[in-house]
Symmetry: C2
Subunit: 355 residues, 2 copies
C-alpha cells in the first residue's frame, strides 16, 4: 500500500491540511514548507487517493469518451488525439462503447456517469434533448463530435458543403450520372448519424444546381463497411443505366466499391470514378480520391472544447471544412475521353481516329 497524507504530514512536520494545500499549489502555504512537503511526498512516493479527493471535492478529474464503435480507424484516431489532450490536462479517460441500441439505452437509462466523470465527449452520436438533459442533471459537461446541439460545444465537419464539393469535382470532370452511396442506419443505433445524411444533401444540392435530374435509383445505402459498400455498388451495377461515377459517404465503403468494380472487370477510373470520404489512413494504398476532414484535429478540438466547458468558459461550435484529396480513382468519363479522341489504352473495342 502506498503512503497517505498523514505519513507525509508527519514526515514534513506539518498538519494534513497543509500537506493537502501544499501539494495542490493552493495559496496559504509558505514556499519553505511547501518545498518541505513536496520533498516528503516525493520521498514517500505519495500520490493522493483519487477516491478520497473525489469524495471530498465532488470533482472526479475524469472524463468519458463515448463512441459507437472502436474498431474503426476514424474512431481510434479521434479518441487517441482527444485522450492525449485530456490526459495532458490531468484527466483520466473512461471509454464507453455504445455498439448496440440496448447499450445506448442502458447508458442513457440511468445515472451511469454520475460520480464517474466530470464530463463526456460524445462522438458520432446525435444525443436527444432528453439525453442531454439527463447528462446535465448528472452534472456532466458535454462536448459533441460529429453532431451539433443548441448551446452545446461541438466540432463537426461541413458535410453538406463537402458533399457538394465532392460532387462538383465529378461534375467538373464531365460526369453526368453520378451515384451516391451512403450509410444506412439500420438498427437505430445511429451508426450512420447526421453527418452522412448531410453528405447526401450536399450531393443532391450539387446535382440540382447543375441542372441534373434527381434519380433515387442512384442513391444506394448500406452499412458502413467494406461489405456494405460492395453490396451498394453491386446494386448499382444492375441498374438500367449504370452511372459513371459514385460519391461514397465513407472511405471504407469506397474500398468495397473498388473491390466490386475490379471483380466486375471494370477499370477505375477509366470506366468508373470513385470518390470517398474520410481520407482513411489506408486510402493511399488503393489510391482512393477522397474528401479529407482532419480527423486528428477534430479529436483535439473536442477535447479542448470539453476542457473549456469544465473551466466555465463558453464552448465553441466549430465547423471544419473538408478538402479534396486527388488520387487515382477519379477521371473524366470514358465517353468524354473518346469524344475528345484521347488515346485509350484499355481493353475497349472502338478506337475512333485510329487508322
Amino acid at each position: 500500500m502506498t503512503a497517505s497524507v498523514e505519513s507525509v504530514a508527519e514526515m514534513a512536520g506539518v498538519s494534513v491540511s497543509t500537506v493537502s494545500r501544499a501539494l495542490r499549489d493552493i495559496p496559504g502555504v509558505s514556499s519553505a514548507t511547501r518545498k518541505r512537503v513536496q520533498e516528503a511526498a516525493r520521498e514517500l512516493g505519495y500520490s493522493a487517493s483519487p477516491a478520497a479527493s473525489r469524495l471530498a471535492t465532488g470533482r472526479t478529474r475524469a472524463v468519458g469518451i463515448v463512441v459507437p464503435v472502436l474498431a474503426k480507424w476514424f474512431f481510434g484516431k479521434v479518441i487517441g488525439e482527444a485522450a492525449q489532450t485530456l490526459r495532458e490536462a490531468g484527466f483520466d479517460v473512461l471509454l464507453f462503447e455504445l455498439a448496440t441500441l440496448a447499450q445506448r439505452e442502458r447508458f442513457f437509462g440511468g445515472a451511469h456517469l454520475h460520480g464517474r466523470t466530470d464530463g463526456v465527449i460524445i462522438i458520432a452520436l446525435q444525443p436527444t434533448g432528453d439525453e442531454l438533459e439527463l447528462l446535465a442533471s448528472q452534472g456532466q459537461a458535454v462536448a459533441l463530435l460529429g453532431a451539433e446541439a443548441p448551446g452545446i460545444g461541438s466540432v463537426s465537419v461541413d458535410n453538406a458543403g463537402a458533399g457538394q464539393a465532392a460532387v462538383r469535382h465529378l461534375l467538373n470532370l464531365g460526369h453526368e450520372r453520378i451515384a451516391f452511396i451512403g450509410i444506412r442506419d439500420d438498427d437505430g443505433s445511429n451508426l450512420g448519424g447526421v453527418p452522412p445524411l448531410q453528405r447526401l444533401m450536399g450531393y443532391r444540392e450539387a446535382l440540382s444546381t447543375a441542372g441534373l435530374p434527381q434519380d433515387v435509383t442512384l442513391e444506394q445505402f448500406d452499412e458502413n463497411s467494406v461489405a456494405g459498400g460492395a453490396l451498394a455498388m453491386s446494386r448499382l451495377l444492375v441498374s438500367e443505366h449504370v452511372p459513371t461515377a459514385a460519391f461514397v459517404a465513407s472511405d471504407e465503403m469506397a474500398f468495397g466499391v473498388l473491390k466490386v468494380l475490379r471483380k466486375a472487370g471494370l477499370d477505375v477510373p477509366r470506366d468508373f470514378s470513385v470518390l470517398g470520404f474520410d481520407n482513411h489512413e489506408l486510402g493511399d494504398v488503393v489510391d482512393l480520391t477522397t474528401m479529407d476532414h482532419e480527423v486528428a484535429e477534430q479529436g483535439r478540438d473536442a477535447a479542448r472544447i470539453l476542457l473549456d466547458v469544465l473551466d466555465g468558459r463558453s464552448p465553441a461550435a466549430i465547423v471544419r471544412p473538408a478538402r479534396l484529396v486527388v488520387r487515382e480513382t477519379t477521371a473524366p468519363p470514358r465517353a468524354l475521353r473518346l469524344a475528345a479522341g484521347t488515346p485509350d489504352s484499355s481493353h475497349s473495342a472502338g478506337h475512333p481516329g485510329t487508322p
Copy 2:
C-alpha cells in the same frame, strides 16, 4: 444532484446499512425489505457514488487498458472486445495510450494507477520485471496481451509457429528466395515488441529446416505502417537477386509492399507473392493472403484472464495458434510455372507449348 443512500433509507424506512446491503445483494436482509429498498432506489433514481464506495472498500471496480497506439485496427479491435467483456462484468475501463517512451516512463514512473484501477490489461508491450513489481505493489492485477511474463496471466499468439507456417506455405508453393519484412523498434518504445521478433525466428527456422541458406539481405525492417512496408519492399527491389516472395510481419506493412510492387509494374502473385500477418479487416479489399490470429478472441481472453486474477483464480497463459488465410497474393513463382508449361496470361514474352 442525485439521491444518496440516506434518502433511499428514509423512503424505504430502514437504515443506510440495510440499504447498502440490500442493493448489493449481500445476505442478511429479508427479501421483503430488500424488495422495498430496491424499489425506493429505483424510484429515486439512486446509484451509489463510486467515489464513496471506492473509498470505503478500497476496490475501484475499474480496470485500465494500456496500449502503445490507438489508431490502428488491431488495437481498436482488441480494446473493443476487452472493454465489452469488462463492462459486462461491471467494470469501468480507463484508457492509457503509451505512444512515446516518455509517456511510458511517466506511466510506470509513479503510482499512476494507484486507487484508479483494480487491474490493468497491458497490450503489445513487454513490461520489465521492475514495472510488473511496481504494478503489484500498487495492488494491481495484471493481464498481458501479446507478451508473456512468469506468473502473469497472458494471451498471445504462437508467433514463431505462425511464422514457420507462413514461410512453409511459400516454400510449398515452390519459392526458394523468400524475404522477411519485419517491424523495427526504432525509438525503443516497443512498438514492435516481442511478437514480431518471434515471427522472424519462425521465418529463419522454416528456411533452415528446408535447407535453405540464411541471407540477411533478405531481412528488411521498418516501422509498422504502410509507408514502412513500402520502404522495406523498395529496398528489396534493388537487391542483386530479388526474392520471389515475402513474408511480412504485419498486414499494414504488406499493404505498403503491395503498393510498391504495383507501382513497379510487378504482378502479384505472378511475379511476387506476399503473405501478411493479422488478417486485417481490410485485407480482403486487396485480396491479401495472411495469417489470422483471432484478434477479437484475444481481447476477450485478456479480459477474462484479468477478471480471473481479480477473483483470486489463478490466471491462464493462453497461446493461440494462427492459421493461414489464402487469398490472392500468393502463388507459385513464375519460373516454376514456366517450367511446368502452365499457360501464363500475363505480359510475359515466351509462351512455351503454344502453337
